[in-house]
Amino acid sequence: MIRLENVSYTYMSGGPFEKKALDDVSLNINEGEFVGVIGHTGSGKSTMIQLLNGLLKPESGKVIIDGTDLSEKGVNIRDIRFKVGLCMQYPEYQLFEETVLKDICFGPLNMGLSQKEAEERAKFAANMTGLPEELLDKSPFDLSGGQKRRAAIAGILAMEPKVLILDEPTAGLDPAGRDEILFKIRDMHKRMKLTVLLVSHSMEDVAKLADRILVLNSGRVEMFGTPSEVFAQSARLREIGLNVPQITMVADRLRAAGADIPEGIYTVGDCYRILLPMLKR
């Protein structure tokens, strides 16, 4: 579904503040996959996701979305943006319409859909994000923080993209709000058969949801594998300045002290299932 071939990108190239954001990145993401993207600030995450929907153009290399090479002549970049829905960080700051419904319709109407179709899609998207129908006629600015976030995500979802990219969708939310959004994202992924890229700082969140985890470090792919493959290298993750789930650290400590615990533990449930028989013996 998504293929990057030797993609590089440099900010302010030629100037004194030149900064290589992506350095010869190649990767493949399959249709319907749920990929967690991790890396500290400046690792190239946000550059990568902007390349994926044509907001930025690669300096060299190819970005191929659903078989279309974005750099080819005659490719309508807007069509790519509808195909690859990008939900930026703090998306609630992009709300502008009089009502929530109108705001969610903005994307679909830009696609050239009829008012009726757009509204149908908007209602479906609102439902997917868990936004109650009675809020749709309200002003988006009267919603609570978590509701605004959901309205903004619905605005992307209503374009019915094939790929949904979410940049820190839970930033600034409290634990309950965070869990609700993550649950809804998982739901969308399953029910709409979306390919999802979830960019997050929180290892715990990514570990819970992703099929595969992509770890970026100073513009390069550091790791790309299943959560247990990635968390098996917890020492390396910490070395490049990333957190690992607390439970992985507990398991690492136990193993270091000689306990028979496998590598790559990343959920409390797994750790519990391994420890319980050992302790109950």
């Binding site: 500290h40 600030t41 609570s144 923080g145 978590g146 930033a171 600034g172 939310l173 409290d174 634990p175 309950a176 709000g177 700082h201 715990e204 300045g241 990333l242 957190n243 789930p245 607390q246 439970i247 650290m249 507990v250 400590r253 136990l254 002290a257 306990a259 409390v268 750790c271 519990y272 420890l275 319980l276 050992m278 302790l279 109950k280 013996r281």
Partner: protein, 290 residues
Amino acid sequence: MDNIVIINNLVFEYKDEDTGERTRVLDGVSLDVRRGEFLAVLGHNGSGKSTLAKHMNAILVPTSGTVTVDGLDTADDGKLFDIRRRVGMVFQNPDTQMVATIVEEDVAFAPENLGVPRDEIRRRVDEALEIVGMSAFKRHAPHMLSGGQKQRVAIAGALAMRPELLVMDEPTAMLDPSGRAEVIETVKKLNRENGMTVVLITHYMDEAVRADRVIILDSGRIALEGTPKEVFPQVEKLTALGLDVPQSTYLIYMLNKQGLGLDATALNDEECAAELLRALENRGKGARGS
């Protein structure tokens, strides 16, 4: 005096301008902040945490009940600046707390407002930047700093008032993990080495476990209070209040549900691993013994 802040049965309501409806945000909070302690205030969004913080330096005044800071009643208008001078505030958004276009000028803002003599301002600015480890950046423009650095400058800006108390309202909510670690280390150091009283409002558990005392707000009331080791093992209550539990605490809670009788007060990976190893060792001995 042992308590820097004394809050007595604080009630706060605000009136909606359009509908005239009154909403009660704080509903009878009584709380003392002890001199030199590190107090964490937890609660989900809308629980009244931020409102409580804003009462500690008279940005808000109680609808009923009293708040005194260092013996001064916050409802007394004449004492406004005496109170604010004693309470340094740091907020969530690193971008909306800085006034000046250069770091050291920004740190100087509060002492300038207070009419502190020039030499003294210089001393305070240098000292405050030193404490937060930002001296090297004193001639930088704020917008060139990272989020964590901006928040450290904001802390320095508060410290330049020489406050008795530092109140921080979700100072890490908009930061990445390294920024969060920077800020929390700074705060912890301030508390430990400089004896600064700290009130930290947060919804990150890993930050709260490092406090001396934790209070949890829910619908404008104090729902739980105690040391982290008293509060966090109450997994069911915390979950019901919409809060997280550290994964270590949760693991032990689940194991204990199977009747393992582990020490439930483990709050971090180190303590949790130590407790599990102790239990594993005991099992081993028991197995060999029988």
